[in-house]
Symmetry: C2
Subunit: 194 residues, 2 copies
Amino acid sequence: MSSPEPVAPPLRRRGERMRRAVLAAAVDLLSSQGLAGATVGAVARAAGVHETSVYRRWGTRENLILDALTTELDATLPVPDTGRVRDDLLAFFSALARLLVTAQGRALLRLSVEQDDALEDRRGPYWSERLDRAVLMVRRGVERGELAADTDPGLLIEAVSGPLFVRVLLSGAPLDEVLVRGLVDLALDGARPR
Amino acid sequence: MSSPEPVAPPLRRRGERMRRAVLAAAVDLLSSQGLAGATVGAVARAAGVHETSVYRRWGTRENLILDALTTELDATLPVPDTGRVRDDLLAFFSALARLLVTAQGRALLRLSVEQDDALEDRRGPYWSERLDRAVLMVRRGVERGELAADTDPGLLIEAVSGPLFVRVLLSGAPLDEVLVRGLVDLALDGARPR
DNA sequence: GGTCCATCGCAGGTCGACTTGCGTTAACCG
DNA sequence: CGGTTAACGCAAGTCGACCTGCGATGGACC
């Protein structure tokens, strides 16, 4: 007698098809179950792939999640050029803040912190990549004479973005427009009376 | 025949004695083996205590390490009062930076980020506790007329401390006097030409 | 100094991350 | 379109975090 249940042909996806299936499953689980729910076993099962295969391709769970997140989360954070530094910075960091309050944004940030031991390099290339481009706004402001000539572009970016990251990672305090505006204005005008 | 090895009397420390022994062992392992080496089993063994007892008292490995670190690392970060905001801020954040580059400081920061799910509260009470006191310096500066009356003390503290935390957690960039000075001056004077 | 109970020690177990060896097959290449 | 091989499936196992039940004892209290 033929088996009543066709035993679901193993599909046996491999190569790029398998990669995409796993990454999609990872993002799905990440969104529905949260960071803790995205177990390597669970992701593999959801993707119809064997757990071993996942480990062979990604090595660690961290790599897997990081890959899934950075692949799907290609929020490119455009660098505006309105002609005024303040407006540029406001637009850029508001976009950053909106990205960071996302479940995926938070997860990506959290994971960027993990990498303790092996391969000390490649630390948070995702974020630094995005922030490095932001110095353009500052440079343009300097050229326009809006900012002092000796302004350190990177430092200014750090001073505004730092608190945003810290709020997500440590304090858990909210990220809103008011915060971004306050940080940008502080970095531009300083706390001393003008 | 009497047993040649006296089988090391189980000691059976309990209560406060046991607590201190475990915490000390944890700090020892943390310093010598790093974060990854401070296994619950290893800490228990080093303290001459059963692993189960550790779990009963601390619940999770994270709690244990956090307790050990915050207990030993009572670097109180004194809030200076020199009469000039800039000097106060410089002294305070230099001390913070020196604490953060420590192996224990880094470990404590990293662990402060972990707490994903259970008990959403008590997030980084260690750091916020210390930074909350720092607003005093800013308030005094405002009263002295050194800073604008509408200065947000907390925001200023965040703008300077944020980048320090982020460098330890994400970018791995160095923390030195130059950085601290740059951040303090940016927060005080702003990037716009005076 | 005897009693009692919270605190421990201990054995055994679950679960997820990660590894290894071996058999099997999909996919690309000629 | 047949062959080769790297890419999978699968079984079995290690290791650390964390839990559970039970028996034993340290210590405080009377």
